[in-house]
């Protein structure tokens, strides 16, 4: 009798979607904080993390903490290194979040922000400015603008081409359209570059990517784009899980697939274009970071998108530390470091992924 009653009030199964557990949330935040302290402290003048924290707190009102840093050290940390660290964090966060969003929107684990010709378009825009306007005043602001326009134009072209050949339902068509546009943009960029050989070095150093001359001005220039794009993408994390069922099933669950994919791709592209505009071409971040999160935490986009933002930020800050210290006093372009890490990682993902043709 009593056992029947127990059975009647059986504990109901608890259904919930795994988001980010507290453990991983704190872990990712700690990683980012640590990366930023390393980024601020490491360089020709080494400054301990304790002094940096105290110096940071001394800027806050009412705490009455005195900065232990000398005026020179303080300037090194807050005027030279801090903008570089913050810009690196923003760019890394954006590239990683955009990578995860592209992978979800196209259901392709190897998709990344450069897939639809973002890199080639930005490269063409930047090369045009460097080659023809380098000597003129004001090209400092024109360069990021041209890269931004080139990157966005590539994606718009790729999207239009993909749709015109009936690729509305097939993501494979869109990817091929991106490759086509990228090939054309690269050809145009090479043409300009060869024509103006005297600016070859400057073009190359931009193409290889770097955070070398970052200022607070650069941070202010791109932060709004990156913050807004990232918020839009993080808000789409559950919808990205629905899209992983494929277009038809997502539609049968009430999602307007075409519009949703357009919004996601637009947000990821605008954010990436802004990041590329100030940092040059830094590849593979959008592959390395989201897949690391998938391996460690969860394949659900509820975890992948927000954690990619935080981990991507820390990752690029640390990568930049490697880039500027490994050949000290000269600097290695950061794009070279990410490619060194990313290419083997890409191969690993290619081998292990359960890839189904879209």
């Amino acid at each position: 009798m009593s056992s029947e009653q127990v059975a009647a009030v059986a504990v109901p199964v608890h259904v919930r979607a795994r988001g980010i557990s507290l453990r991983w949330g704190i872990g990712a935040a700690a990683f980012l904080l640590l990366a930023m302290l390393v980024g601020l402290g490491v360089g020709p003048v080494r400054i301990g993390p304790g002094s940096i924290v105290e110096s940071a707190l001394s800027h806050l009102p009412f705490l009455h903490i005195h900065s232990p840093l000398s005026v020179v050290d303080s300037a090194v940390v807050w005027q030279l290194r801090a903008p570089r660290v913050v810009l690196g964090a923003l760019v890394g966060a954006m590239l990683a979040v955009a990578g995860s969003a592209y992978q979800g929107a196209f259901r392709n684990p190897l998709a990344d922000p450069y897939l639809l010709g973002v890199a080639a378009g930005a490269g063409l825009g930047a090369t045009l400015v460097i080659s023809y306007l380098s000597a003129q005043k004001g090209s400092g602001l024109l360069l990021p603008l041209a890269a931004f326009v080139g990157a966005t134009a590539s994606v718009v072209l790729a999207y239009a081409l993909g749709r015109s050949v009936g690729g509305v339902r097939s993501t494979g068509t869109l990817i091929l359209a991106g490759v086509t546009v990228a090939a054309f943009m690269t050809a145009a960029q090479s043409f300009v570059q060869q024509q103006r050989a005297q600016s070859l070095l400057e073009v190359y150093s931009w193409l290889l990517g770097g955070l070398g001359s970052s200022t607070w001005h650069d941070v202010a220039l791109v932060a709004p784009y990156i913050v807004v794009s990232s918020i839009v993408l993080v808000l789409h994390r559950r919808v990205l899980d629905v899209l992983s069922l494929g277009d038809e099933e997502a539609a049968s669950l009430g999602v307007n697939v075409r519009r949703t994919r357009l919004v996601i791709v637009a947000a990821a592209t605008i954010g990436t274009a802004a990041a590329v505009a100030v940092s040059g071409l830094i590849g593979f971040v959008g592959i390395i970071v989201p897949h690391t999160v998938r391996l460690l935490v969860s394949t659900s986009y509820r975890a992948v998108v927000p954690l990619s933002f935080v981990v991507g930020a820390g990752f690029l800050v640390l990568t930049d530390v490697v880039a500027r210290t490994i050949l000290s006093p000269s600097e290695l372009p950061i794009g070279v470091v990410t490619a060194f890490l990313g290419a083997p990682f890409f191969a690993l993902v290619l081998r292990t992924t359960r890839y189904t043709s879209p």
Binding site: P12, V15, V239, D241, S252, L253, S298
Partner: protein
């Protein structure tokens, strides 16, 4: 009483070839209707058109409302579709997967509410999946996976259940189990079921009514014992069969052609 689904002169063309031609049908609430017909007869296409997933000419009314007047979300609250080969992301857990069925009730940028979790939990319980709740989809057998897909459709709380060849990948026992479960859900919740079905014996035993399609057109419809005949199966499937009637049940037995 308003018909659950009413379609008049529905045609679907891919490029220039017409796949569904001038189909008119009425489905009453609580009915189980099986779409039968040879490969390429247009069963899947007709289901997709009725579910509003592809464009069609003609008119479709869903519970009295024209299909095109319903938003994607409203439609998803009325029709749950189980496709022939559903995508089942391998790393998702069963409960996460079933929870996706609640999408039509969750605001675009919001997360699931407690009511959504409860609906998913109920769907898991009713399909006997409680012990599998935290298992990842790639660890399930074919029959378990099909139950998970049904649970997702059930969590959608739609009065109409569209099934496209729901048991084509299952063995004999699993086929019966899944169809019995669908029938139980139908009786308990008053669902209306439209299923494209391959196996004519199973279709005859589970469906109230059969609609026989050939080359996109309805060539016969009615009670199983009236639709299934040796001459029709021979004409439309090109198959040589014997049909047994036993206690009102219809069995379709394939026969090897007599030689000589």
């Amino acid at each position: 009483m308003t018909a659950m689904v009413e379609a008049t002169h529905v045609s679907v063309a891919y490029d220039r070839s017409v796949v569904v031609r001038d189909v008119s049908l009425t489905i009453e609430p609580g009915e189980w209707v099986a779409l039968i017909g040879p490969n390429g007869a247009g069963k899947t296409t007709l289901l997709r058109a009725l579910a509003g997933l592809i464009a069609c000419s003609g008119a479709v009314f869903m519970d009295g409302r024209p299909l095109e007047s319903l938003s994607r979300r409203e439609l998803a609250r009325r029709v749950a579709l189980v496709p022939q080969s559903p995508s089942t992301p391998p790393e998702l857990t069963v409960s996460e997967y079933v929870l996706l069925g609640r999408t039509p009730y969750i605001a675009y940028f919001a997360s699931e509410s407690a009511a959504d979790s409860a609906a998913a939990a109920e769907a898991l319980e009713r399909l006997g999946l409680v012990e599998f709740a935290e298992r990842r989809l790639h660890t399930l057998s074919g029959g378990e996976l099909q139950r998970a897909v049904l649970a997702r459709a059930l969590a959608q709380h739609a009065p109409l259940l569209f099934l496209d060849e729901p048991t084509s990948a299952l063995d004999l026992g699993r086929q019966q189990q899944v169809l019995e479960q669908v029938d139980t859900l139908r009786r308990e919740d008053g669902l209306t079921v439209i299923a494209a079905m391959h196996d004519l014996s199973l279709a005859s035993q589970f469906a109230d009514r059969l609609i026989l399609l050939d080359r996109g057109e309805v060539v016969a419809q009615g009670k199983p014992q009236d639709v299934i005949s040796e001459s029709r199966i021979s004409a439309f499937y090109g198959a040589n069969v014997r049909i047994l009637h036993d206690n009102g049940e219809v069995f379709v037995l394939p026969r090897r052609r007599e030689t000589g």
